[in-house]
């Protein structure tokens, strides 16, 4: 798949699959892993919070570890700010993404 096709496919997926917003904030000892990505060291208990927000019916499911809730109020606030930003990213960019797709699809040279 060419880079441009890849871009169009991603945009199309994003513009049609926006029913849920998944925000995760997780904490632990991190390390550089063999594949070059940053990940958690093995054998530890990960603390954190995960929110699944259904953008159609408004349901919000949040799972949070007790220690995280009690000991890291700053991170809980940070997580809430991420939820707001997640909404913003969608709200701000969805029209732009749709415009890109429509513009390019309407061009005679488009694939």
């Amino acid at each position: 798949m060419s880079k441009l096709d890849d871009i169009f496919a991603k945009i199309e997926k994003a513009t049609t699959d926006l029913t849920t917003l998944k925000i995760q904030t997780v904490m632990g000892d991190l390390e550089l892993q063999n594949d070059g990505h940053i990940g958690f060291k093995k054998g530890q208990t990960i603390q954190g919070v995960i929110s699944n927000i259904d953008l159609i019916d408004g349901d919000i499911k949040t799972q949070i570890t007790e220690e995280f809730y009690k000991n890291y109020p700053e991170l809980v606030q940070f997580h809430q700010a991420r939820e707001v930003k997640g909404h913003e990213i969608i709200a701000n960019n969805i029209d732009t993404l749709k415009t890109i797709i429509e513009t390019i699809k309407n061009l005679p040279q488009s694939k």
Binding site: A14, Q24, T99, L107
Partner: protein
Amino acid sequence: MSDNPDFIIDRLDQELATLPAANNESRQHLIELGYIPLMKTNALHSIDVVKASDQFLSEALSSGLFPSAEIEQLKQQGKDYLIRQLLRKATDIDEGINIPTLPMEGAVNLITRIIHYRLDIFGLWPHAIATRHTSINTLSQLKVIAGYAQCSPLEAINFLSDMEAFTRRLLSIYEEKDFILTIHSQQVSGDLKKKLDRRFAFKRQLIEDFGDRNDFFIFLRKHILKERENKIDFDFLKKEARNDFKQFIMRLIQIHQWQEGFYDGLLDSNMGELTLKSFLDAIDLYNKANNRWIKPHRIITYVEDGYFLFNALFFLQEYMIEDHAPQQRKEDDLVLSAMADNLAKADEGTQLAFQQNMEQLKKEIRQGAETPPKERKGFLHRVYYGIKRLIKKAAKLAGKLFNWIVDKVKEGWKFLKKLFTHFFEQLSEGLKAFIDGIKFLIGRRAIHTASENNFIISSFSIDGDAVSLVSTGAVQLIPSHLRQVNYWVGAMQFSLAIAGGVLKIIMQALNALSWPILLFTIIKVYKNISKSFKNLQL
């Protein structure tokens, strides 16, 4: 140009890597405004720049000098861009910031720094820029300018935000004779003195311009512009060369020359070889631009013993004052369109010459941009980054610029370098936004904040999902990480809009565009989208 869009996207990515970086501009402005002490200039560490940038941003945001809508619009292009643009505005003396009131006694803030910076440009600030505002130091110096411009100290400092308006003001107040200046410099080479020794031609021109209008001109003819040295009144020349107002006008001209890129020496009131040569460069450029053949003696002549006479009245009126009101955006578009139109009509050989010489401009600009600001003899060796007058002049020359590039015209090269510095900057911002937008479209985008062994990484995808990995003990990084993320979220909307605009051009005009035309078109997309985002904010 290739008809493969992937190839074009990759080549745009490569193009970005070859464009001049803008790091040195912010560094220079931070020194000019006293956020970094001048004496640190030649041994600057990146941590100094980061700290100074943060202090500047904090003072700028609380100064009340920048409308919040403008701040929001600039934030869309990222923190570095925001800081650079605010710094440029704070140091602009073409269309600089209007200061609403003079600061309180003892204050140190962005307003006091701007006042001291403007005085420093004129050689009227002997203290550190970050010195506290006091009646004794600041007001007494402001009163010098206020005296010359016959206005209040507050009006005076605001006159210095617009050199053209300030020059008009002085021209309207003072008599013709006040603009016939005497320069004394023993540092000028014998060759240049010989070249400029046209005292009789200069005298004829004075008679033509001013006749017997007053005793000053009669005196110059009878006692100064003489062939035999013993007939020259050197006491008069000595007194004239030390005339405070005339020295001030000379400095004003040095500043004009610096703003236009003709003079790249120190702003130090030393009217030596470089300053004199900059006059000749200006005359050459305007002759070339206007198809006129004004000779150097129309403006300057060497007399004797290191003394020169300079007709600042003609120089300022002819070259430093523009007739029309500023319409920068339209004028900017006019220049870009004229170049793109000429390119589209040109044959293959001409297009190739244009592209090669544009690459040469880029190379030379990049070399200059990589040279960090330097301190020399207690002065900052600096570049002027304001663009208002540059663009106004470029619009007047729009019809000629294309051929100047193709033919690599010597007289116009410095001007082209200054103009293309501006274009390459816009291209660089446009391409950065484009690449950033494409990266976000292709995969997740990660924002890192790190300090020692602690870090936070937040990654985002276009469907709004986010994952934040926080290392144990990184809680204290949350505020700075949040700020970074907020900047990025704001910037992403802009980047996606640019990516959309550029992708559209690539798809619409495959095969029909030459590479330089594509680059000019990207600059126009960038400008138009910036404008629409600005209007949205307003």
